[in-house]
């Protein structure tokens, strides 16, 4: 069966339209980006507000005992916060598509719209593509918008101390435009797979959301000083997720088999 992009785009169009009219979901999608942007800005502001506080140096030395005596502990901690926060920021492109894709796939079952949809000429690959696009496009757009706001916010609050723009830097730019879409694809793939197996969107969301726990755990490791984040560290994460993405894509198309879906849920 030939893949017809027009039919995949039709699924995308419908899901995107449905998302735009789902106020509850839109609000819940905005909460996480707001936290992801405001929390690090607040942390940077705290360091800028009292850059000479004696405790800052103690904290900085905990992370880097070789920190030169004359170096600004506040500046060091700001740089470390920005590097570490990228790990947390990646939770957003994973979590937002989970919210959308769970609604879109398991929601079709809940609303009993799956059978008429599967009785149309759309193929499983077109369905997965359309639904994935409908989850990925808003997620990546939200991530990039949040990144812009994050850069502007950090630069404004850090300016009194550093007198130069800190953001966007190379790590964040590469991470947000290359690694974040890979993570979004991962979140979407997990949500599609789980949604195909469970009957309710809420359950699909709850189960899918568990995949953010390793990410949060790694950030915890960074804060505890166990893991040292940097360009290579995030590049490795991206490579692992790329492999997982390929596996998820293959499994999603296999699992969204028309017969299996109809006999289980139709």
């Amino acid at each position: 069966m030939a893949f017809r992009p027009k039919r995949a785009l039709a699924v995308f169009w419908k899901d995107f339209l449905d998302l735009r009219k789902n106020v509850g979901l839109l609000v819940s999608m905005m909460v996480l980006p707001a936290v992801m942007v405001l929390v690090p800005i607040g942390v940077v502001w705290t360091y800028v507000r009292a850059p000479d506080h004696a405790d800052l140096r103690s904290v900085a030395l905990f992370y880097d005992p070789t920190l030169p005596l004359g170096a600004s502990a506040a500046r060091f901690l700001i740089d470390k916060t920005l590097t570490d926060w990228f790990g947390m920021f990646l939770v957003m492109p994973v979590f937002v598509p989970i919210l959308i894709a769970s609604q879109s796939v398991a929601g079709e079952k809940e609303r009993r719209t799956l059978e008429p949809l599967l009785a149309s000429p759309v193929t499983a690959a077109e369905l997965v593509t359309g639904k994935s696009l409908a989850a990925l496009v808003p997620s990546v757009a939200i991530t990039w918008t949040a990144f812009v706001l994050f850069c502007v916010g950090v630069d404004i609050v850090a300016w009194p101390l550093v007198k130069m723009p800190l953001m966007p830097n190379a790590l964040w730019t590469f991470g947000v435009f290359v690694i974040a879409p890979l993570f979004a694809f991962f979140g979407n793939g997990v949500a599609v797979l789980i949604s195909a197996r469970v009957s309710e969107a809420r359950m699909a969301q709850q189960l899918s959301a568990l995949v953010v726990l390793p990410l949060v755990g790694m950030v915890g490791g960074q804060v505890a000083g166990v893991l040292k984040a940097g360009f290579g560290y995030y590049l490795l994460q991206g490579a692992v997720v790329l492999v997982l993405d390929a596996l998820l894509l293959w499994a999603s198309i296999r699992l969204l088999d028309r017969e299996r879906l109809v006999s289980r849920w139709g």
Partner: protein, 305 residues
């Protein structure tokens, strides 16, 4: 090859047999009824014929497309109205229809006039910009029917099309079904509403996992003809005498009335003679056709045996 041709079709889900050895054909322009109790395999049969499920035995073609290998082409020529309307509540009626036009890769400018014609026909004209979530059950059902027709299907499967509709709307739907058939489309109607099936369908198949009976409604009813006899006094006391007849007919007795099921017209004089011989004063004996419902229920009872 137009119409529907089904040959020894079967479907198993693991060890469970949902449908077995089903054979029938439906001509273009025919309205064909598929009757059976819940769990009889009607929905499974329709799902196989619309390419949603793969048969495990036998073969079938719908408008020339093999159901086991031409899924995509098949789904372009069939329209399926499912038991649940399955509409997107946040989308307007027009957006719901547009989505299915896009899935069928139709040019909206060309397809919309047909959709609007059916919207008007079903009393939904002027409501196309309203979200479906605010529609009544009947309006949703009618919109689902319009969605079924939006790509101008050659074969239409309707599962309980008048479910939830008021009598006037149900009549509109029935008229539309007859009109669609007159345009040469093949229509398969699954329903529990036997009066509706009797009114719309030329032929029916009664299924309960396998085919129990099939034929024109008139013939099925004729095959189940009865003799209604009015006697003096309680009719119940003559049941025993009738049971002695060589063809041992099924008998229902109610007050002075006896309803004797016959396999053949020629059995009627024997019944009357038997009653007279047993001392009955016969006031009238009228051959009648049984309602489809009675034939249907008897077929199911036999099927159970």
């Amino acid at each position: 090859m137009s119409g529907i041709h089904v040959q020894e079709l079967g479907k198993r889900f693991g060890d469970r047999v949902a449908v077995e050895a089903l054979s029938f054909h439906v001509r273009p322009g025919e309205v064909f009824g598929l009757l059976g109790p819940n769990g009889a395999g009607k929905t499974t049969t329709v799902r196989m014929l619309t390419g949603l499920l793969q048969p495990t035995e036998g073969e079938a073609t719908v408008w020339g497309h093999r159901v086991d290998r031409d899924g995509e082409l098949l789904r372009k020529v069939v329209g399926l109205l499912t038991e649940q309307p399955g509409l997107y509540d946040r989308l307007t009626a027009r957006e719901n229809l547009r989505f299915f036009m896009k899935l069928h890769e139709l040019d909206e400018a060309a397809a919309w006039p047909r959709a609007r014609h059916y919207l008007e026909r079903f009393g939904l004209g002027g409501r196309e910009h309203e979200p479906v979530g605010g529609f009544s059950k009947g309006m949703r059902q009618k919109l689902a029917i319009v969605r079924t027709l939006v790509h101008d299907p050659k074969v239409i499967f309707l599962d309980e099309p008048t479910s939830g509709l008021d009598p006037e709307s149900a009549r509109t739907v029935r008229d539309a079904v007859a009109e669609l058939a007159s345009e040469g489309r093949t229509i398969v109607l699954c329903s529990h509403n036997l009066a509706e099936v009797e009114r719309l369908c030329e032929r029916v198949a009664v299924v309960k996992r396998r085919l129990l009976a099939m034929g024109p409604v008139r013939e099925l009813r004729h095959a189940g003809q009865a003799l209604e006899v009015r006697v003096e006094g309680e009719a119940e006391r003559f049941r025993g005498a009738l049971a002695q007849l060589p063809f041992a007919p099924n008998v229902l007795a109610e007050g002075p009335k006896l309803r004797v099921m016959l396999a053949d017209d020629a059995q009627a004089p024997d019944v009357v003679a038997c009653l007279v011989g047993a001392g009955a004063r016969v006031h009238s004996a009228v051959p009648t056709q049984r309602p489809l419902e009675e034939v249907y229920l008897e077929l199911l009872r036999e099927g159970r045996g």
